[in-house]
């Protein structure tokens, strides 16, 4: 929610919320082994990678010596080391991050702490250091990455237990954490780009983890190629930044930007639009969102970690990090907000009719990322990061819960040799009796994502919606009011599709079959503990940023909570410059919704509506009933078919992008390459050969001929000399 009061805070304001212990004045933040946070996952990658190579060599030897590769089993000895190394390094990194967070809490931090290790590029004017930056924003991201990452690593121990690529899996996962930390810890744009590309690589490797399955390998390629389009935008933005400002360090760029760029000027708008293109690729926004649903081909914990909690939020981080630039470019900001709001609504409508449990969550992720974009687009940068954080909790929980469900369904179908899809919600139903922990924790996440008080999603998502309404000022006032309505609609749809998912999966009668029910089982401890931890975070995670007015209103109930507007204050050093620009150019934020009403009123309305939607949806879905996939045909005609087929976006892109590209490529191959280039080269060769053949006719092998020609030549030379 808007909150004029903190938007006008000067940068030097105390970072502490009302209830925190008073700051030790003059104490400086001393980072504790920040490089190690980065290096530990890399170490894990190297160790697990070596183990994976060794394991691969062993199984290759087995195959060569006649024995078949043991399908679906790893000897316990091969699992022991990755089990400890993989989650271990991330866990230690999380502890180190916690220590650093604790140290940062107690001090006033006006300048980011930068640790520079070596000069990476030093040529002419371009000087790029291999440096990491520790500030409130990178700290929040590090906490999310290592914390949620650790839980997902632990979950993976149970989930991937029987996979032959166990060590390889943890190697990739550790490498991903390393690159993601590079992305958020880098102190300049090139460092962020290294992480940006690195997480793209890991995403590709993990989507195509089961690469012997052709569609999965293709999904990996799709993700990589679509991301390249976005990376191009990021690169161009960096080039323009360097060309105009002569530096790529965050500190240098953001200090110079307000003086160097005119408000709303062409250059800064171009920079922000190119950055936005990069962000839409990585964060799966319109028009580059198509890769994310396909990315669900990877193992489910990967979907939780990379394609829900961390990597896809890199675009939000990018915009929040570059908030000064976006504040200076109102057109760029409104583009971010519009794309976000449209994506939020668009993806939510698709999620309504999907039957694959992971696809529902995938489109839900796209939709929630849209909300985050809306937040950072309307200038509520802290709200965007806030939703990024809470979303990491409840979406990781939802994916891991879905992973537990799929795990169980897969085992049941496997045991009875039933050829049913373990991810199709139509084949589930009634699972709450078999996996109660998963059931309860996923309901917690559902209530959180639906935005019901007092779960985490209520505070973060509603703050974004509020901010989009309240931000209606300046030249784009009309658009922002429209986006507010779109966001409200998307939020209602969120509650509907999540409730549908829960009811179809866990409630009603079981549709898997009686024989299968005997094989359904709850998740092992390594899987339930992360679920419970994330459920706790999904409940309390939102309380770090309770708006002051709400905290006072609810009968003092939140008086116990000390953290009023804490995250906003915590991130103030990052967003202060941008807020100052917005305040100077647009004036103060109207602290009410476009149609009137304050925080408490709209908060209450949102909760009541969301609760009503959840109950009504649950009832209607339960009453309508569901039949197993083989009995139920595809939806026929109308809006349901349109949504089931995802608005035919993939088909549309196939028509207007993929096929023309293929056509042009084929033309370039046949005409340009084979005809023009190869033709020219071959022609040169043929002409040379022809001339040679002609010249060889003079070489008769007859001495007389030679003598005759020689004499003629001499006469000719003499004639020329004499005449």
């Amino acid at each position: 929610m808007g909150f004029t009061e903190h938007l006008v805070l000067p940068p030097a304001v105390s970072l502490l919320g009302a209830g925190w212990a008073p700051a030790a004045q003059g104490a400086a933040y001393e980072p504790f082994l920040p490089g190690l946070i980065l290096l530990l996952p890399l170490l894990g990658f190297l160790l697990n990678g070596a183990l994976a190579l060794a394991a691969g060599r062993r199984s290759a030897d087995r195959i060569r010596s006649g024995g078949a590769a043991a399908e679906g089993s790893v000897e316990p000895a091969g699992r022991m080391l990755p089990t400890w190394i993989g989650p271990g390094v991330v866990g230690v990194a999380f502890l180190l991050t916690l220590i650093n967070f604790g140290r940062m809490l107690g001090v006033e931090l006006n300048e980011p702490v930068i640790r520079s290790y070596w000069t990476w590029m030093g040529t002419g004017n371009l000087n790029v250091e291999a440096a990491i930056q520790l500030d409130p924003l990178s700290m929040v991201m590090m906490m999310v990455i290592t914390g949620v990452g650790f839980l997902i690593h632990v979950f993976s121990v149970g989930y991937m237990k029987e996979d032959p690529g166990y060590a390889r899996y943890f190697a990739y996962l550790n490498l991903f954490v390393f690159f993601m930390l590079t992305l958020v810890m880098g102190a300049n744009f090139p460092m962020m780009f290294v992480g940006w590309e690195g997480v793209g690589l890991c995403s590709y490797l993990l989507i195509g983890f089961w690469f012997h399955d052709r569609p999965k390998a293709d999904a990996g390629k799709k993700a990589f190629i679509v991301n390249r389009i976005g990376d191009f935008g990021f690169l161009v933005a960096m080039f323009i930044l360097f060309a105009t400002l002569g530096t790529l360090d965050y500190v240098g760029v953001f200090e110079a930007a307000p003086e160097a760029f005119v408000y709303g000027g062409g250059i800064v708008t171009a920079i922000t639009l190119f950055l936005l293109l990069g962000a839409t690729g990585k964060s799966a926004q319109i028009p580059l969102f198509v890769w994310l649903p396909d990315a669900m081909a990877g193992p489910t914990p990967v979907s939780a970690l990379i394609h829900a909690a961390t990597m896809v939020t890199a675009g939000v981080y990018l915009v929040a990090r570059s908030s000064v630039l976006f504040a200076l470019a109102p057109a760029g900001s409104v583009a971010v907000a519009t794309i976000g709001a449209l994506t939020a609504l668009f993806a939510a409508t698709i999620a309504l009719q999907q039957v694959d449990i992971k696809r529902v969550l995938a489109y839900s992720t796209v939709s929630q990322l849209g909300f985050m974009f809306l937040g950072v687009g309307v200038g509520a940068y802290a709200a965007g990061v806030f939703h990024l954080m809470t979303h990491a909790f409840f979406k990781a929980l939802l994916f891991l819960g879905a992973g537990a469900v799929i795990h169980s369904m897969h085992h049941a179908f496997h045991a009875t040799h039933k050829d049913w899809d373990a991810q199709d919600m139509r084949n589930m139903g009634g699972l709450r009796r078999f996996m109660p922990v998963t059931w309860i924790t996923m309901w917690v996440a559902t209530l959180a994502i639906a935005g019901i008080w007092p779960f985490a999603g209520f505070f973060s998502k509603d703050e974004i919606i509020w901010a989009s309404g309240a931000a209606a000022r300046g030249g784009f006032e009309f658009i922002y009011t429209g986006l507010w309505v779109v966001a409200l609609a998307a939020a209602v749809l969120t509650a509907i599709y999540m409730t549908r998912l829960m009811v179809m999966t866990f409630h009603g009668p079981s549709r898997a079959g009686e024989e299968e029910e005997k094989h359904l089982h709850g998740a092992p401890l390594t899987m339930t503990v992360p679920l419970i931890a994330l459920a706790v975070l999904s409940v309390f995670g939102g309380w770090v940023n309770v708006p002051g007015s709400i905290r006072e209103s609810f009968f003092g109930g939140f008086g116990l909570l000390p953290m009023s507007d804490w995250l906003d204050r915590w991130l103030a050093p990052i967003t202060a410059d941008a807020q100052a620009v917005l305040l100077a150019e647009l004036g103060p934020v109207a602290d009410q919704a476009p149609v009137g009403g304050g925080h408490v009123f709209w908060g209450a309305v949102a909760t009541v509506v969301a609760t009503a939607v959840v109950i009504l949806t649950a009832r209607s879905i339960a009453r309508a009933g569901t039949r197993p996939a083989i009995e139920e045909g595809l939806p026929e005609g109308g809006i349901r078919k349109l949504l089931y087929n995802k608005w035919y976006v993939d088909e549309l892109y196939d028509r207007i992008v993929v096929r023309p590209t293929l056509g042009v490529s084929r033309w370039a191959w046949r005409v340009v390459d084979q005809l023009l280039i190869d033709g020219t080269v071959n022609a040169v060769g043929n002409v040379t050969r022809g001339v040679g053949w002609f010249g060889s006719l003079f070489q008769t092998g007859q001495v007389n001929t030679y003598a005759f020609i020689l004499t003629l030549g001499v006469l000719a030379v003499l004639g020329v000399l004499i005449l």
Binding site: G701, N704, A707
Partner: protein
């Protein structure tokens, strides 16, 4: 005297050239080449009277080279003859493209 000597030299050279072009017997062609060389020698000697001793020195070099050439050339011809039982150059055309 010089004019007569040069005319004789030119005649010898033309005879030699003509012989190389029209005869087919390898040994005769070889002799004609010798004739050309000696025509050149005659010019050298004749001109050295007016232009200094260099011409006569050069003649010795030419004679040495001619001797060496005769040795090598005759050896080749003998070896060709042993192979083909003839020295008619019309038969020797293997050395081409």
């Amino acid at each position: 005297m010089l004019t007569e000597a040069l005319v004789v030299s030119a005649l010898l050279f033309l005879i030699g050239t003509f012989g190389v072009l029209v005869r087919r017997n390898a040994i005769i062609m070889f002799l004609c080449i010798e004739l050309q060389l000696n025509a050149a020698n005659l010019s050298f000697v004749a001109l050295s009277r007016h232009l200094g001793i260099d011409g006569q020195v050069f003649v010795f070099f030419v004679m040495t080279v001619a001797a060496a050439e005769a040795a090598v050339g005759l050896a080749i011809i003998i070896s060709i003859f042993r192979h083909y039982q003839t020295v008619n150059v019309d038969n020797f055309n293997l050395l081409k493209w």
